[in-house]
């Protein structure tokens, strides 16, 4: 074994050099070991992170208060400056929504009658809790947010997270007091969806862009801009018919969706007490969700296990919750008794999108609805 003279000359004191480099090598090895560990044992990684986010979330929450206050002040200033215009916009929107309320009430009545005729399983109310968002993704790797609610409030893994307009993501890590939700835009996000107009089913695939891709659509899919996209409930991971967004880009097989949820204003979100059908971690979500005064809840049709009746919120007798989605339905005549006899679908089968019966003739909410027939 011969040693080169140059190497000996470079290191005047090899022992000292080794002593300096050993801690560096150890920390590099530990970091790489952690990386490999978290790759090989993702479940264990989740559990470790679940235990640690209870430490992280309160710190982020406290330090975020000044930023939140500044943002709130900025919003107030902007609203004040644009007050007159905003009032005008809200008046017009209020007028439009009043007309839609009449339509919704009529359709709700029809829907109940038809469901009774077809013996379709009742829609269920999935209770949900409202919780604060305490962190942003904060970097180019992961699109996830920290929430101020954990197992102690009944939050469990895989539960859907929504804002007032649509699905935001799902819970991926749960701590005692906090949890982490993976946004639909994250590259690990996959949820089954369908296009309401055509009934085409596909998978919404996050790719870290702000507009997730709609993949695995049928070859002959005729998706087009502004088509509404909802969860399909396939696989039982998510409840069916939750609003997801609208088709925003179509170029051959590439279809992208603009989310209904406003990811730039995620101050509060709702976590739904939905128990996924296929996941073994159901025990983690068996606890009841804390019921909030606002009583925010969404209605969804699902074949999943129902939460205990004590936690099932009563249906809103007048208006559906903002998250309630008009179900895909076949075109029906105005007079319910004239509805033709149709064989009842199997119990628990999600409502079929309207593709089988042709394009849905339901009104586009952005357009003026027809005059109400049964409204006040």
């Amino acid at each position: 074994m011969r040693r080169s003279g140059g190497r000996a000359a470079r290191t005047a004191n090899p022992e000292r050099g080794l002593a300096q480099r050993l801690p560096f090598a150890i920390f590099i090895a530990v970091s790489l070991g952690l990386l490999i560990f978290s790759k090989i044992y993702p479940t264990l990684n989740d559990q470790v992170q679940g235990a640690l986010i209870d430490v992280a979330a309160p710190v982020v929450d406290v330090l975020g208060e000044p930023v939140t206050a500044i943002r709130g002040f900025g919003t107030v200033v902007a609203d004040t400056l644009n007050g007159a215009k905003k009032v005008e916009t809200l008046r017009a929107e209020n007028e439009r929504l009043r007309r839609w309320r009449d339509v919704a009430m009529r359709l709700d009545g029809e829907n109940a009658q038809l469901r009774a005729l077809m013996r379709v399983s009742d829609e269920m109310q999935i209770p949900s809790i409202s919780t604060r968002v305490v962190s942003d993704p904060g970097g180019p790797f992961v699109r996830a947010i920290l929430l101020d609610a954990g197992v102690s409030r009944g939050v469990g893994k895989f539960q859907p997270v929504m804002d007032k307009a649509g699905v935001v993501g799902r819970i991926v890590t749960v701590g005692r007091q906090s949890s982490r939700a993976l946004l639909l835009t994250d590259l690990n996000s996959r949820i089954p969806v369908f296009i309401r107009r055509t009934g085409d089913r596909g998978i919404l695939v996050g790719d870290n862009s702000d507009r997730p891709k709609l993949a695995y659509l049928p070859m002959q899919s005729s998706a087009r801009i502004d088509d509404e996209v909802f969860t399909s409930g396939d696989g039982g991971i998510f409840p069916a018919k939750l609003p997801v967004g609208v088709v925003d880009y179509v170029d051959g097989p590439t279809v992208r969706v603009r989310l209904a949820a406003d990811l730039s204003r995620l101050d509060f979100v709702n976590v739904m007490a939905y128990v996924p059908l296929e996941k073994p971690e159901q025990s983690a979500v068996a606890q009841p969700l804390e019921t909030l005064p606002q009583g925010s809840s969404v209605t969804a049709e699902t074949g999943a296990d129902r939460p205990p009746a004590a936690f099932a919120a009563p249906a809103d007798p007048v208006l559906p919750s903002p998250s309630l989605v008009p179900a895909p339905r076949p075109a029906v005549p105005a007079d319910p008794p004239a509805f033709p006899a149709v064989p009842a679908p199997p119990e628990g089968t999600p409502a079929q999108p309207a593709a089988a019966a042709g394009p849905i003739e339901e009104e586009n909410p952005d357009e003026t609805p027809p005059p109400s027939q049964g409204g006040t």
Partner: protein
Amino acid sequence: MAATLHRAAIAMRTGVPFVLGLLLAVLSFVPYGSPEFSVIMPSLTLPLVYYWTLYRPESMPLAAAFAIGLWQDILVGGPLGLMALMLVVTRGVIESQRQVLLTQPFAVGWMGYALISAALTVLAWAIAGLWWDHAFSVWPFIAHWGLGTAAYVPLAVGFRQIDKLLYQQA
């Protein structure tokens, strides 16, 4: 009494940069109300480890750099060890080059930061791609690096003020 004060001053010199690192890591995750910005949010801990390793290495031991990185990994919710690795590499590389960098003007130190943060961004991009088995778009990483390089100057000015305060107490 004097010995106690001296010991407190020594503890502050190590403790303040470390706590500052933990706080800066959190600031990257505070909801700023802009998803676009949160994606390209620059790393605030990398300038901290770079600065203190360059000018006061005794205030930024390897264990502190590792712990700050691990804390950031916990906040991200991705793979544990990624940011810890980045900060430990920064600590090791800058320590080996500090004699050269210390004799240069601030602008050269800034360029040094730009270079090492570029190398680390590429490394993080590659490791994240392997870990997630996904080719990440490079543009958020380029923006992330650019913003981080721009943020180094005001951060370094702030660190300099803290540095003066800590070392005036001796």
